[in-house]
Symmetry: none
Subunit: 258 residues, 2 copies
DNA sequence: ACGGCGCTTGCACGTTTCTGCACGTTCATG
DNA sequence: CATGAACGTGCAGAAACGTGCAAGCGCCGT
C-alpha cells in the first residue's frame, strides 16, 4: 500500500480520501498527503482548511487531527468515568456475536454501550436515549428503542408504555442498571416504577449481568427487584471486600473483577 | 479494455454505461468519458447532471463520484450549525406554554429542541434519541419517547412499532423533518417508511410547522407526504427566492424568515 | 411530401473553481 | 534567540463549468 495511484484525483474525491485516512489513523500529515496525491502542499492545506471549516477535523501545525466529539460535560466525575470504562470493557467481553441485549438506563450502561465491539451483528434493546445515540452510526448494531415517558432522574423511559414494549421481546443478555445488590437478597432499586421494568427485562433474558462499582455492592435500596439466583455474571472491581465476592460465588454467580 | 466502440451510442444507453463505470470505479472523469463515448464534454456534463438529479451520483469538479449514502447524522448535525440555530430560534417562538409538541428526527429538529424555552411546561413527543437527550434534565419539559427500530440514517425510530405509539397521541404542534417541500405539492420525503410516520404525526396535530433551510424548498424527493394545506407555518431563510415565499403565502401558510 | 415538434448535440461566451507560486508571518525546536 | 519548516494570503493562468443558441435528426400529422 505504497503511494496512491498516479492517475489524477478529483479535488473533491481527494478530500474524501483525506477524511477516510483521517478516520483510520486519527491524523494526517500535510507533506505526506502532498506526495501521495501529487499536488502541492498548498492544495492539501486548502483541503484541510475546508474539512476543518466543516468541523470534520482539527487543524494543527503540520497536518490535521480527527475532530473528536469531546464531551465537554460530565467533567465532574472523571475518576468514576475511568472506573466505569474499565468495568464496561470487561462486561463487553461477555457478549457473543448475533446476540440480543437489554441495556437498561444508567451511566455504567452508557459506558458499556460505548465499549461494545463493532461488527458483531448485535441487537441492542434499550430504554435510554443516550445508549441509543451512542450506537447509532456504528456498524454492526441494530438498535431497538423502548419508548415511553422519560424520567429525567433515570435518563430513560419507564412506565406502562415502556413495560408493554419490553414484554414483547426476548433477549440473550440483560444489563440492568444497578442501584444496590448483595449476594444474599439480590438486586435492589430505588424507584418503584423501575422495579417492574427491570424485573421484566431480567425474566425475558437468558442471562443477566450485573455491572457495579464496589460501593454499590451493599443492601441499601428500597425495592427488591431480583433474587441472586437470577444473576448470571457480576462484573465489579478488584478491591471489593473478598467476603462479598465469595458470597456471590457461593450464590452461583460467575464473578469477574477488573 | 481500450476505447469504447466507435459506433454512436444512444443518450440513455450512454448514461447507463456511465453509471456502470461509476459503480465499478467509484468515480468518473468527465474528460475521459468524452473521449470514450466520442461526444463533447458538454454532453457528458449534461448526463452527469441528470444522474445527479436522480441522486445516482454526486457531481464534483472534474467529474462525478458515486452517491454515498447521506453522511452520518453526527456530521449532518455539524453542518450549517449557525443557519440551523437561527431557524430554530424563530421556530421556538411559535411554541406556547403547556403545549404538546411532535418533534421528528433530523438535525434541524435537534437544533429546535435545544432552542425551546425552559419553564413553559412543554410536553415533547419525539422518535429521536438525540432530541430526547437534549431535553432530559432541562426544567419544564416532559419527554415522551417513541420507541421502535432506530434507522441509523434517519437517527430516529420508524416502522410499525413507532407508528402504533404515535397513533395514540394528539399534539398541538408538529415539527416534521423536511427533505423537500414546495408550495404547489407540499412536503416530500426520501424514505418510504418515514412517510407514514410523518403523515400520522401531522394529522394528529393541530398545527404543523415546516422548518427548512433555503435549499430544501424544492420539489426533489420521492414520496409525497403532506399537502401544502396542512402546513400552518413555514420558517426559512431571508434570502430564499421571493417567488417561492409568495407561493407559500398564497397557499395559506404563514411564512417566517430569519 | 413537407413543415412543425421534440430531442440531442456542439459551440460560444462569461463565470466559477482549482492550482501553484511568491511573499510575508507564525510556529516549533535546538 | 536564531533558524527552518509550516502557514496564510493574494494573484494569475488554466481547466471545468453553466447557459443560451442554432444546427442536425427522427417522428408524426394534416
Amino acid at each position: 500500500m505504497a503511494a496512491e495511484p498516479a492517475d489524477p484525483t478529483l479535488p473533491r474525491e481527494r478530500q474524501d480520501r483525506i477524511l477516510e485516512r483521517l478516520r483510520r489513523h486519527g491524523r494526517v500529515i500535510a507533506a505526506d498527503l502532498a506526495v501521495e496525491f501529487r499536488v502541492s502542499e498548498d492544495s492539501i492545506r486548502r483541503d484541510l482548511r475546508e474539512l476543518a471549516a466543516r468541523s470534520l477535523c482539527k487543524r494543527v501545525y503540520g497536518g490535521a487531527l480527527l475532530a473528536t466529539t469531546a464531551p465537554p460535560l460530565a467533567e465532574r466525575r472523571r475518576e468514576d468515568v475511568e472506573r466505569k470504562r474499565a468495568l464496561a470493557a470487561v462486561a463487553a467481553t461477555l457478549v457473543s456475536p448475533h446476540q440480543i441485549l437489554f441495556l437498561d438506563a444508567g451511566s455504567t450502561n452508557s459506558a458499556i454501550a460505548a465499549a461494545l465491539p463493532e461488527g458483531h451483528d448485535l441487537t441492542v434493546v434499550t430504554n435510554a436515549p443516550d445508549v441509543a445515540l451512542a450506537l447509532i452510526g456504528r456498524s454492526g448494531f441494530e438498535v431497538l428503542m423502548i419508548g415511553g415517558r422519560i424520567d429525567p432522574e433515570i435518563g430513560g423511559a419507564i412506565g406502562s408504555l415502556a413495560l408493554r414494549q419490553i414484554q414483547g421481546i426476548r433477549a440473550d443478555l440483560c444489563f440492568p442498571g444497578v442501584c444496590a445488590a448483595d449476594a444474599q437478597t439480590g438486586l435492589w432499586t430505588l424507584d418503584a416504577e423501575e422495579v417492574v421494568l427491570k424485573r421484566t427485562m431480567i425474566e425475558a433474558s437468558g442471562e443477566t449481568v450485573l455491572v457495579a462499582t464496589r460501593e454499590k455492592l451493599i443492601r441499601a435500596a428500597t425495592h427488591h427487584t431480583a433474587p441472586p439466583s437470577s444473576i448470571t455474571h457480576l462484573v465489579t472491581e478488584r478491591d471489593t471486600d473478598p467476603a462479598i465476592l465469595a458470597a456471590w460465588r457461593a450464590a452461583g454467580t460467575s464473578v469477574h473483577v477488573v
